[in-house]
């Protein structure tokens, strides 16, 4: 029997999420720690960080310590009409931390659904992302955005790639003052400028934001993309997470890989996003395949930042004994105490840093 009180947040999450993903038909996917370096060179911009730890295999082939799991999973799936490969994983990846600029081992768990993706699959991924966050803490927010809508609005405003790249960066920063300046610099008309700035400011629950989006998505293309988001929102509204899921266009990913829905999850008490995901049909296309795909990853290493109950003691009972005390007596005492759920430590002298609630002295001269 596992004493769940002893589990760390990330350990508890691994156990619970494994059961959750299994319940929804996702199968475990175990992969090697190494991958051929070539795959990362070809899809460099898809990676969160540019740097990859590389080394030569015994046959001289250049290998890398995995900086990402999605690319490896895609390689192991096939296109088949009407079918989907649904897998979940729990793996370590090796990336450069943007904060420390040093390599870091990051424990990730997540899922990927690759194949003939439809509206339900997108909803299922978003729902399971919400459920994954809820498993860790009910105080969570899942922000969703839609690359297709943003892309349509920006394309209609200006042809320049440079404008689009800068505008995306500023929307991600919620930087309205510089977005206005950028629009002025590129001579964007007033109506388009106001629309783009509205995206920078937009934030709220699905019910609050959808009517606003209605007013902004006027072209056929934008309306079609909004229809995609609207269908997802209708399904979200029926779930227990409708108040946790917000629309936020500052959640953006690389447009050359992602299309459609993208999302990011936050937990109260952790200063950065702990979950990231989205639809990446374009990546699959770049790899010469025809499938659609959606997935997400939960960064387990960040969960240790969540407030956990601080233990006042390392053990409940410290048992002190000396050479005059028989091992049977020590064993009996330990058996008695642990049977009652106490944590014990047997020592001949009191360790300097051990914090204990009570002390039991088995030595002959005193108790």
């Amino acid at each position: 029997m596992i004493d769940t009180r002893l589990l760390k947040n990330e350990e508890r999450a691994i156990f619970t999420l494994r059961a959750l993903y299994n319940k929804y038909g996702y199968l475990p996917f175990k992969m090697s720690k190494f991958e051929e370096y070539d795959i990362y060179v070809r899809n460099k911009d898809f990676l969160v960080s540019d740097s990859v730890i590389t080394f030569n295999d015994t046959n001289g082939k250049l290998l890398a310590l995995k900086p990402d799991v999605t690319l490896s999973i895609i390689k192991n799936t096939t296109d088949k009409a009407g079918c989907k490969d649904k897998v979940y994983y729990n793996e370590n990846v090796y990336r450069v931390s943007p904060k420390t600029h040093q390599f870091k081992e990051i424990m990730q768990t997540g899922l990927e659904c690759i194949g003939d993706i439809d509206e339900y699959d997108v909803f299922e991924a978003v729902y399971l992302a919400s459920k994954s966050l809820d498993t860790v803490s009910p105080d969570f927010v899942l922000d969703i955005s839609h690359m297709g809508i943003i892309s349509a609005i920006l394309d209609e405003a200006c042809d320049s790639l440079c404008f689009k790249k800068e505008a995306l960066r500023l929307i991600a920063e919620r930087n309205i003052h510089e977005t206005e300046a950028l629009c002025r610099e590129f001579g964007i008309d007033e109506e388009s400028k106001n629309a783009i700035c509205s995206f920078v400011n937009m934030y709220g629950t699905v019910d609050a934001v959808l009517p606003e989006l209605d007013k902004l998505c006027v072209s056929e293309r934008a309306k079609k993309e909004l229809g995609d988001l609207r269908s997802l929102c209708a399904l979200i509204s029926k779930t227990e997470y409708k108040n946790n899921i917000h629309i936020d266009f500052s959640v953006l990913n690389d447009m050359s890989y992602y299309n459609g829905i993208v999302f990011k999850g936050f937990l109260k008490g952790i200063p950065e996003g702990v979950l990231s995901g989205g639809r990446y049909d374009k990546l699959i296309e770049r790899m010469g395949r025809k499938s659609g795909a959606i997935g997400f990853a939960l960064y387990l290493d960040l969960l240790e930042e969540l407030n956990t109950e601080k233990r006042l003691y390392d053990v409940d009972t410290l048992i002190i004994y000396d050479d005059t005390v028989g091992a049977d007596k020590i064993a009996d005492t330990v058996a008695e105490l642990t049977k009652n759920g106490l944590r014990v430590s047997c020592q001949k002298a009191i360790p300097e840093k051990l914090r204990y609630k009570e002390k039991v002295n088995l030595c002959k001269e005193g108790r």
Binding site: V141, R174, N175, I176, Y203, S250, P271, G273
Partner: protein
């Protein structure tokens, strides 16, 4: 409670005055004490002074929900934060400066002394110019005078220091001013409070204009 990281110094004091005018006063901050943290429970706000270049670190790491940092710091360290408002104060510019008689004919590697290594690298990379970066921590203006570098990349406010040292601005890289930034996660869980502060501060920026 909203935690606000303010930059120590003259700019920070002006920024606090702006918060005060916007309705987020905390009178104890003006008392002459050695305290570092000041709180107004009624207004739900807590201020603390930190080194200007550290503001973005406090905000990015979530110790502060919001803060005020110079655009120079945001460009140099690119913290993962929201940039919610241009406060239109502490205005200056990031510029390339050199000796009055210096002429860059582009025929050799340009030696650039700066505190802002990333900004300088990015600026010259955009021009495909080969440079030799010399990272300095202060008194940057002395570098071209002593021949340590050809030019400097630094903040220029009035240009008076440059002028007195026979240096002049050769190129403006980007205008700089103080920005109100927010931690991304805090924004999700304290949306209403933070948006209210942004609105009140925006009104102040308009009034000051």
């Amino acid at each position: 409670m909203i935690n606000v990281a303010l930059p120590k110094g003259r700019l920070g004091e002006k920024v606090y005055d702006m918060f005060e005018r916007a309705g987020y006063e905390c009178p104890s901050i003006k008392e002459n004490t050695r305290k570092l943290i000041f709180e107004n429970k009624e207004k739900g706000i807590r201020y603390f002074w930190v080194k200007p270049s550290d503001v973005s670190i406090y905000v990015e790491r979530g110790s502060a929900d919001i803060g005020v940092a110079g655009k120079d710091i945001l460009l140099e360290y690119a913290p993962d934060v929201y940039e919610l408002l241009d406060l239109n104060m502490g205005k200056c510019r990031m510029a390339v400066a050199g000796k009055n008689e210096f002429y860059d004919d582009g025929s050799r590697t340009l030696k650039v002394a700066t505190k802002f290594v990333n900004i300088a690298k990015k600026h010259y990379a955009s021009k495909c110019r080969d440079i030799d970066i010399i990272k300095l921590n202060g008194s940057i203006e002395i570098a071209p005078i002593l021949g340590l570098s050809d030019v400097i990349v630094d903040i220029v406010e009035t240009g008076k220091t440059l002028m007195e040292n026979n240096l002049s601005v050769m190129e403006t890289i980007v205008p700089i001013s103080a920005r109100l930034i927010s931690n991304k996660s805090s924004f999700k869980f304290k949306t209403e409070e933070i948006e209210k502060i942004v609105k009140c501060m925006k009104d102040q920026v308009r009034t000051d204009d």
